[in-house]
């Protein structure tokens, strides 16, 4: 989706950023805020369209899709969080759009976004046990019935 020229420019500034075959950027969590700020301020990605996560066997992956209003260009940025203690810096300070979306990921995956102003569950009740979108969370038919 993102054009290779743009990705090459980003790569020039951030040597540690990995670029995969489909021009997606993979960055470590501590480098994420710097890269995102650069994307927003220098490259004009003013619209954080999507933010979500995927539970892979070895790590959690948080996926960002920043866009540009003027030409609808889009880049994919990914960062990986540890399985046991998943923590990723929040991008709320850059895009307000991240606020609810990070809360959603926190609610359903249990990934903590450091620096988020109001990290509470958003869909489920506060005392809900576990995080349903984790692969380890069983579906209803696999769960034991505990009701009265």
């Amino acid at each position: 989706m993102a054009d290779s020229q743009l990705v090459a420019q980003i790569k020039e500034k951030f040597a540690d950023v990995e670029v995969d075959a489909e021009q997606r950027l993979v960055v470590s969590p501590d480098q994420l805020p710097g890269l995102m700020k650069e994307l927003r301020d220098t490259f004009g990605f003013d619209f954080l369209s999507n933010l979500t996560a995927v539970d892979y066997p070895e790590y959690f992956e948080v996926v960002y899709h920043p866009c540009r209003i003027r030409d609808a260009a889009m880049v994919t940025v990914k960062t990986r969080a540890d399985k046991k203690r998943p923590r990723v810096p929040s991008v709320c300070g850059l895009w307000g759009a991240a606020n609810w979306q990070e809360r959603e990921v926190y609610d359903l995956f249990g990934i903590v976004f450091e620096g988020h102003p109001d990290l509470r569950r958003i869909f489920l009740e506060d005392d809900f046990p576990g995080h349903p979108l984790r692969k380890s969370f069983p579906l209803a038919e696999q769960r034991e019935y505990v009701g009265g």
Binding site: M1, F47, V63, H65, M74, G96, A97, F123, L139
Partner: protein, 369 residues
Amino acid sequence: MQPRLETEEVIVNLGPQHPSTHGVFRMILRLEHEVITEAIPVVGYLHRGLEKLAEVRTYTQIIPYTDRLDYLAAMLNNLGYVQAVEKLAGIEVPERAEYIRVICAELSRIASHLLFVATFAMDVGAITGFMYPFRDRERVLDLLEMVSGSRLTVSYMRVGGVAEDLPEEFLPALKKFLDDLPACIDEYNGLITGNEIFQARTKYVGRLDPQVAINYGISGPVLRASGVYYDLRKLRPYGIYDRFDFEVPLGKNGDCFDRFVVRIKEIEQSARIIRQAVEQLPEGPVMGKVPKVLRPPKGAEVYHEIEGAKGVLGYYLVSDGSNRPYRMHVRAPSFINLGLINEMVRGWKVADVIAILGSIDICLGEVDR
């Protein structure tokens, strides 16, 4: 002795069973006199875990679930999803199916916007104004029922095309509807848009600054009402949208009134697209070559966005090589558009909250997923 009058903060609970919240949305309002000092939105009452459910269903089985996202514009949800799967698995869609998709998707947009026009009029107190758009929306739903057998939960689109070709009676009925539509819109404009009370309730109410809107990821008619030109049908055309001639209506003030007017104008533009699609509609098959069991390549992932009725509708799919997605995420426009509600209603009066919330046009099926 005179009783002392003190200012006291009052907390009012709005919803989740309040008709003006358009579903099961709840807001806790802190009031000073009649003015909102803070609105705490509470969502999740309709959370069904759709994304989790998708992980144990095949790619085709998920299509009916997408109907239940924004159930007021189900065709658009179908479209976004099947296009994402087609991208993931590299499937071609026949020309005729592409055109039928555009016709149905734009009809869905019209239905959604008509419902908005109706309910928004009622939100600000115009009960009669509610009846006319609803009457006409029923005709759109009849058209959708002709092609799919269902008014709302259509499940009409398939990976690789659409379920069935258009029935014989569809095109004449569609033509009649499109011919009647301008007169219907004149009626809404006469009855609602031009109404003095309606304008007093909506003009300059809940103004949304374009920069703030962009920062908060607001999209669709709400963003365009603030004057931001962002319509994926134009900027990042998907399917065959680059073949049609249409305009993107923009607002100036970003107030409730502009959000209303932009949607009415979008109905006209959608009708314009449908007319062109009907004119160009080619003959041929409506289903492409699709393997019996759909297994996208292992490790493939795709994020596909379309311009939904409420804003940018995105689907993120990850394949593990099996016949079920490893992960499906829906970027629901209503959910993200709602994220700014506290800032939008703060400083306004209780009655304006209803107007502002109504003007965002949320669908809780999509907010909560």
